[in-house]
């Protein structure tokens, strides 16, 4: 029974860490209807810089780095959108074009990391990395617990920003009806760039948190991007709440699947769910069924 509870708890902890990354992806898809294939690479980049290097150079704690990463990657996301994405949005093949261009960009990021900082797996060595709390015979990792609370804070912050500020309302409006927004005097390109930057910033912060308890390498992104897609698709693509739910479910499935199948195959369970969902309920858990034709 102890191991079961432990799996559920670690499933939730991991699920929330996916949820933060997936929230950014869902925000970007929801507003611009594009899929950012390089999404996980931004998180990986944040794991190296600032998290890993700031800790090594100046001894800055990774949890502080997560908040440094927010503005850093906001700017990086903004620039990326202006340089790569903006030109394609609005063309008939925007959906696949952006997928392909971000695939190219993800390749660029991961290989530059490989060249710059070598392919050796890295690990953050802080007192809390391996430390645990034990409740009865259930062990809970401390780094993951801290991350959980910061993640929840980040997500609430994102919600507040989207719902309570003017710019958040502009982003939501642009997601709903871009044309209408343009007529209402909203600069669409600016709003898109903001949404993209915001998505990247949240993801990068999530990456920093994840780095505190998971070893990572330049191609770590390849292994988690599909998990993020699965979370977002489960959540109905456009909804951030859905992505959170999706991330949680994926985390739980991953952690609980080893009761049934070998641990090496835990991702098989996740991807199978992804395919089944796409087939049976492409609109996700929360999504409503669209009108045909």
């Amino acid at each position: 029974m102890g191991i079961f509870i432990e799996s559920i708890i670690s499933g939730i902890l991991i699920g929330v860490s996916y949820a933060v990354l997936a929230a950014g992806l869902a925000l970007i898809f929801g507003v611009m209807k594009i899929i950012n294939f390089a999404h996980a690479e931004f998180a990986v980049l944040a794991m190296y810089f600032p998290t890993y290097w700031f800790l090594n150079w100046w001894g800055i704690d990774p949890f502080v780095s997560a908040f440094i990463a927010l503005p850093m990657f906001f700017v990086l996301g903004y620039i990326t959108h202006r340089l790569l994405i903006e030109k394609i949005i609005g063309t008939p093949e925007a959906e696949t074009s952006t997928l392909i261009i971000t695939l190219g960009f993800s390749l660029l990021i991961s290989n530059l990391i490989l060249i710059g900082w070598s392919g050796a797996p890295r690990i953050i060595n802080q007192p809390y990395t391996m430390a645990t709390w034990s409740i009865g015979n259930v062990l809970i990792n401390r780094a993951q617990t801290y991350s959980l609370f910061i993640s929840l804070g980040l997500i609430s912050g994102l919600f507040l920003l989207l719902n309570k500020t003017l710019i958040g309302k502009a982003i939501k409006a642009a997601a709903d009806d871009p044309e209408g927004c343009a007529y209402m005097g909203i600069n669409l390109h600016f709003v898109y760039a903001l949404a993209f930057a915001l998505g990247i910033a949240v993801t990068a912060a999530g990456g920093c948190l994840m780095a505190t308890y998971r070893p990572f390498h330049p191609f770590f992104g390849e292994t988690i991007i599909i998990i993020l897609f699965a979370s977002v698709i489960l959540g109905g693509m456009t909804s951030i709440t859905g992505a959170l739910l999706g991330g949680l479910i994926i985390g739980l499935v991953q952690q609980l699947s080893f009761f049934v199948i070998p641990i090496a195959l835990q991702n098989v369970a996740v991807f199978t769910i992804l395919v089944l969902f796409l087939y049976v309920r492409p609109q996700g858990i929360l999504g409503k069924k669209g009108r045909a034709v």
Binding site: G104, L108, E222, I226, L265, F271
Partner: protein
């Protein structure tokens, strides 16, 4: 394909000539270079990546369904052949075909479940499959397979001289390129191009989009599996899951396809000739110090191609050699003397002389009391909204039935239900006495129900004649006959001056005429025309009326939806009035427009009273 002027459509033997020349010359070059392994390796890589990219091009370029998990098929081919060879000592010459079969079965499984998804969703769904296979193979202990050296030489596809592999690869490339070239000028290729541009219109024009996509997918997969076999025997020797199922395979194929030119025969070859040597050179020079240098080149190539050259190198070359389909011809012709006369003539021709064949010749006296289309108790809901309710309509044969009603009253929904875009919740539709309620649009089209759309749905990157050909293919499988028929119809409808222009540059009138031509090319017995006069000036609207009358004269039954009630009254023999998804009036046109229900529906209760008192 994007030219002005008449073009060669059907394939002759000399269409394949360049492919033979390239493959033979390539083999000769490889032979005369000598057995230097490094050079031959690069040559082999170029040929293999070209073959893989061209195979990928069938489903992702021509059919426009980007398969992000294409490495699935390369990997399946490679693993099947190697496993059969390693454990059952089955010769790879046989094993490669087993690989093809396994890949096609895999593609069938993937295709059946994912091909109904669209765009990026499809891409993401397909990428899940190699990612599922990857850990399973690793778990089974098949992460790394070395191909055992048997010394049997030719029979086990093991050669010391790389030139043999280059020869095999060129043979494979020839097969792939011939297949692609054949598809390009076949009915199948036209169907793929049509569904890529506009799936709705393609369905409406009798193309079974799902089936065509699936066929393209299977073909792509099979050819990819062949490449996987040659790749693993000629280059890898030790097959790993990463080497044949890895994302980098996808990246190479995508870069080569996009840089070279999507949906072109020669694009991938040109791009491979540029990208592969650069990548290999960088890898050899800096590979030890900067291990990712090669992949960075592919990444940059992808980004640059999408941003600055979306039509690819071959697209660029082709464009610069052929005259641009200039959009300015319209305005120029209006000023120029001679041409403008032709244009005016095109427009004001006497439409009475037009003849269109319905699929079954209908003798004029045949339509006594037997309605061509019976709609019985149709209900259609969108969520909780009732779009059509208990609808009963009988459409008289050989006449024009007009449908009027305010916006949102369910007129277009009725058309969508009749030709199968939307399944009704209840009720049935009988066409020529046959139940067509649950038939798909492409079947409805083949049975003889033609359709034009409210918002014109043309295949914008095809020429006018090619657009009409898509319709004509329903009656003529032969490409030459379809072409001849399409040209004839284009001329009849006054489109001869624009026959070889891209549909995207047409005026509103020309676009409408194209829709009519395309629908008539399917030789319908019943033609559904959705708001033909919207966006046209009164004179043009008049001309539409004339055309509809001619269509009727040819024995084709017509149902017209129209808002311009005055124009409709002139042409309709029978009229049905709609409001809120219900039939509120039916009868001769004058009666229906005087019906108080209709006046209320259009103008409100106040006008009904005023009409009643006056």
């Amino acid at each position: 394909m994007k030219t002005e002027g008449r073009q060669q459509v059907s394939l002759q033997w000399h269409s394949y000539f360049p492919i033979f020349i390239v493959c033979v010359v390539g083999t000769l070059i490889s032979y005369f270079i000598g057995p230097d392994r490094y050079t031959q390796r690069i040559l082999l890589l170029i040929v293999l990546w070209t073959a893989a990219s061209s195979s990928f091009n069938v489903i992702s370029g021509y059919a426009g369904q980007v398969v992000f998990g294409y490495m699935m098929f390369v990997g399946t081919g490679a693993y099947t052949t190697v496993l059969l060879f390693k454990f059952l000592t089955i010769s790879p010459w046989l094993g490669m075909w087993a690989g093809v079969i396994v890949a096609i079965i895999t593609a069938l499984i993937i295709g059946l479940s994912t091909l109904r998804l669209h765009g990026a969703f499809f891409a993401i769904a397909t990428i899940a499959f190699p990612l599922i296979t990857f850990p399973i193979l690793n778990y089974l202990g098949l992460e790394e397979l070395s191909i055992p050296f048997t010394g049997h030489g030719a029979s086990s596809m093991q050669f010391r001289d790389m030139r043999f592999y280059v020869l095999i690869a060129f043979a494979l490339l020839a097969v792939v390129l011939i297949t692609v070239r054949t598809i390009e000028s076949s009915r199948f290729g036209f169907a793929l191009r049509a569904l890529k541009q506009n799936e709705t219109a393609a369905e409406g024009m009798g193309i079974n989009t799902y089936w065509n996509k699936l066929m393209a997918f299977l073909l792509s997969a099979g050819m990819g599996a062949l490449m996987g076999t040659v790749y693993s025997f000629g280059l890898l020797y030790i097959v790993t899951t990463h080497a044949v199922f890895g994302l980098f395979i996808m990246v190479r194929i995508l870069s080569i396809t996009i840089v070279g030119g999507i949906a072109t025969v020669w694009g991938p070859l040109i791009a491979a000739c540029i990208l592969v040597p650069i990548g290999e050179f960088l890898n050899a020079q800096f590979g030890d110090r900067y291990p990712g240098a090669q992949d960075i080149i592919y990444g940059i190539a992808l980004i640059a191609a999408i941003l600055y050259m979306p039509e690819g190198i071959w697209g660029r070359i082709r464009r610069s050699f052929r005259p641009l389909p200039s959009k300015s011809t319209v305005s120029m012709k209006l000023v120029a003397g001679e041409d403008s006369k032709q244009r005016v003539l095109d427009k004001t021709r006497d439409y009475d002389s037009l003849t269109f064949k319905p699929i079954q010749p209908v003798s004029m006296g045949n339509y006594t009391n037997d309605p061509i289309l019976k709609i019985e108790g149709i209900d259609k809901y969108f969520g909780g909204v009732c779009a059509l309710e208990k609808l009963n309509i009988e459409v008289p044969r050989g006449k024009v039935t007009g449908i009027i009603g305010p916006n949102g009253s369910g007129k277009t929904t009725l058309f969508n239900v009749i030709n199968g875009f939307l399944p009704p919740e209840k009720g049935r539709i009988l066409f020529e006495g046959r139940d067509i309620t649950s038939l798909k649009p492409h079947v409805a089209c083949r049975l003889g129900i033609g359709r034009t759309f409210q918002i014109p749905q043309v295949f914008s990157n095809m020429t006018v004649v090619e657009n009409i050909m898509i319709g004509a293919f329903n009656r003529w499988g032969n490409i030459d006959k379809a072409y001849a028929e399409a040209e004839k119809i284009a001329q009849q409808m006054g489109l001869s001056g624009r026959a070889y222009c891209q549909a995207v540059g047409l005026t509103m009138w020309e676009t409408k005429m194209l829709e009519f031509s395309r629908a008539l090319a399917t030789q319908p017995t019943l033609l559904l025309i959705d708001e033909p006069m919207a966006g046209l000036n009164p004179e043009e609207a008049n001309r539409i009326g004339k055309i509809i009358k001619v269509i009727i004269k040819n024995g084709i039954t017509v149902i017209v939806i129209e808002h311009v009630v005055q124009s409709l009254v002139k042409i309709a023999d029978w009229m049905v009035g709609f409001d809120n998804g219900r039939k509120v009036a039916e009868g001769p046109p004058q009666e229906v427009i005087a019906n108080p229900h209709m006046i209320e529906a259009y103008l409100g209760a106040k006008w009904r009273e005023r009409y009643a008192t006056s």
